[in-house]
């Protein structure tokens, strides 16, 4: 059976790479004694895949991974069993069974982020707010991606809003295009002429589910409804 786990991470866990995150989950599953399905071969590993890799340094309140458990396994204690063997920096928020065979990864549509700037004063907040508005209203806006290459970020932005020193962004997150929130953050800071550090947290991942765009938790209802 396919089981989806929604999880959060914070603190020290923010600095784990995608590969290390996979390993951390694999080990937690073994510690907790979860009844998972292993691959065949000389190096059996847990059949597990993440919806969308998270960059080093980012926190999350809404990331997803799926794993295979033995058919008929009891999933009601998976959440508490895993949380008991994780540190408080990684915790499982939800566990549910899904039907069908489409990988979460192939359903990705967009992801919501909060970008919290550590600003010096109120004036900087205003500058950031004005810049975000300007970018939102532009037909196109060329920013430098993480390798320094120019990229038009406007088509990759679904929605932006500012609350105080926090920028909320819903950004495209598909195989044929995704915007890393740090690229947006750097573009905003440089356009606004503000020097500030920032922290990024992924708030939720959205997938193309049942003809709409919904948080992956919607798969739970779908499975429950028997589709």
């Amino acid at each position: 059976m396919r089981v989806v786990l929604k999880y959060m991470r914070k603190g020290a866990a923010n600095y784990i790479s995608h590969l290390d995150m996979q390993r951390a989950f694999g080990r937690a599953v073994r510690r907790a004694g979860i009844d998972v399905v292993y691959s065949q071969g000389f190096n059996p590993h847990i059949l597990m895949s993440f919806a969308s890799p998270l960059s080093v340094g980012y926190a999350t309140n809404g990331d997803y991974l799926e794993m295979r458990m033995q058919d008929g396994a009891d999933i009601s204690t998976v959440k508490s069993d895993l949380n008991a063997v994780f540190t408080s920096d990684i915790q499982i928020l939800d566990v549910f069974e899904v039907t069908g065979n489409k990988k979460l990864m192939s359903l990705n549509d967009s992801a919501a982020y909060s970008i919290s700037f550590t600003v010096e004063n109120e004036a900087d907040c205003v500058k950031i707010k004005d810049t975000v508005q300007k970018i939102s209203q532009s037909e196109s806006y060329i920013a430098n991606d993480r390798r320094g290459k120019p990229v038009d970020i406007v088509p990759l932005i679904r929605q932006l809003s500012v609350d105080g020193s926090v920028l909320y962004a819903l950004l495209k997150n598909t195989n044929d295009g995704a915007l890393n929130p740090a690229v947006l953050a750097e573009a905003v800071l440089s356009e606004a002429g503000v020097a500030a550090d920032y922290e990024i947290c992924r708030l939720e991942c959205y997938g193309k589910i049942g003809g709409g765009v919904l948080p992956f938790t919607a798969l739970k209802e779908k499975a429950a409804a028997g589709c």
Partner: protein, 603 residues
Amino acid sequence: MKWNDIEKPARYMGGELNSIYKEDAKLRFALCFPDVYEVGMSNLAIHILYEVLNSMEDVYAQRAFCPWVDMAAKLRQEEKALTTLECGQPLHGFDMVGFNLSYEMCYSNVLLMLDLGRIPMLAADRGENDPIVIGGGACTVNPEPIADFFDLFVVGEGEEVIVELCELYLNCEKTGESRKEFLRLAANIQGVYVPFFYQESYAESGEIASVCALEGVPEKVKRRFVEDFDGARAMHRPVLPYIGTVHDRCTLEIMRGCANGCRFCQAGYMTRPVRERSVERVMAQAESVISATGYDEISLCSLSSGDYSHISELMQALMDRFEKQRVSVALPSLRVDSFRFAEKLQQVRRTGVTFAPEAGTQRLRDVINKNITDEDILGTVYNAFASGASTVKLYFMIGLPTETMEDIDGIVELVRAIREEYYRVPKPERGGSLSITVSASCFVPKAGTPFQWEAQEGIDSLREKQWYLKDKLRMKGVRFQYHDAYLSFLEAVFARGDRRLSAVLRAAYEDGAVFDAWQDHFSFERYQKAFEGCGIDPAFYTTRKRSFNEILPYSHIDSLISGEYLVRECEKAYSAQATPSCSQKCAACGLQGAGCHMHGGEE
């Protein structure tokens, strides 16, 4: 702090599973490893001592590793001190700061950590409120080159001494003893060496004239070992790193000491007597570590796991117990017979075999007492090839005592013979394409071995031999790797050096030396400049042959291996006479009847 420009920030974050947090404790102990996190977290001693110390109610041990160059620069730039992972406390705020000294080339990192930790670098400059700086680990066989930087060393195995030191410290604190009095009392614990109490003088030749123990401390410092190794505290809940480390698996220590007596091997002698941990205890430990970490791989740790008396029983028990959890058990390597043994177990992938013949001819292998024959090697590789393996790794040393070009040619011959064995296997039966990796390190004479009086071969001639091999080993499917001769030269300086080298080390550090074990960061010129500045000729420590009656810089440290035995072994080496393993015949190394239980501890 902004982490965007720091490589692998997880190195500095702490917060890993099984980290220990205490409110506070009377004695705060910083366990330091002078290399990056990934290397330090792979060190078994750090994990054992972390558990031993933290099991003491009044002690709180926290970990600190050497910051990589980017982080070191950032700490300097932001004027921040180096801190521990658990509580982010600067090193200078600890009562005790202990360094694991596993290899000589980490010394500059020790200075970096003291410096960034804001601890006065020289022991002589430390006052009542500064931490007691402790060194332990393999290098304490000869701690003289770094004696100026340490308040005390633990010579030998540390898990018992460290407890005694902490108890003494807590008592001294209660009674208000001075730092110096604490050190004097500490110096009377077996295994504790306080350099301050031992003064050396030099003869005109540069050799040591005498080493004088001051009043109130033993004349010789005796190495310590754990008598009841089976019952000794092992690691049970190791801290689980978030990021991949060098040895990222469950490591089970099954044995200490080695009975083989390879004459170049410092570890082999310095961990004697041979002691085994029982299968039951190892199994219980495995159980505990796997359930505390979720590791999917187990490996056994000892100097020669093939010699562990219940190796088959243990391997089988581990595989049976953990098969269902898909935990794999890695085979102990190095021994020729281990491949055959592996086949018996029939649960391994047959991809390759690894040997450490160390020398190219039987004669030279007899000189170094490496009991492996060409027939052993060729027989084993043939079987391996016939069962589908096609990868061979070979480890050699060059520059060994009595070595001639014939021995170097022997390496080439052996590689050639191994290739022939491969082609002797009918094509349909043998595995893919043959790959032989030949690795040659430069011999470094080490303290406490029968070769401690030997001259190291000069850099130029070592390099010539490397080039010669490189040329001769241009064969299809053969890859040749060799060590930097300059690095081996420096290692040799510190391996048998004396206290005058502390100044050299400090000068090199101040000139930027750090991470010397990392090829990209090592600069021989820096050290050369430091030697010149201090008026010291490094060749005095490397290419100079010592006489048997020279007072060696570490002669006041009793390694428990008798000097007469070492001389005997050295003389046997010259006549290419092998000494059988202690399991066959006692060679009277000094531990017979003094903790060694082979042959009932008798000769």
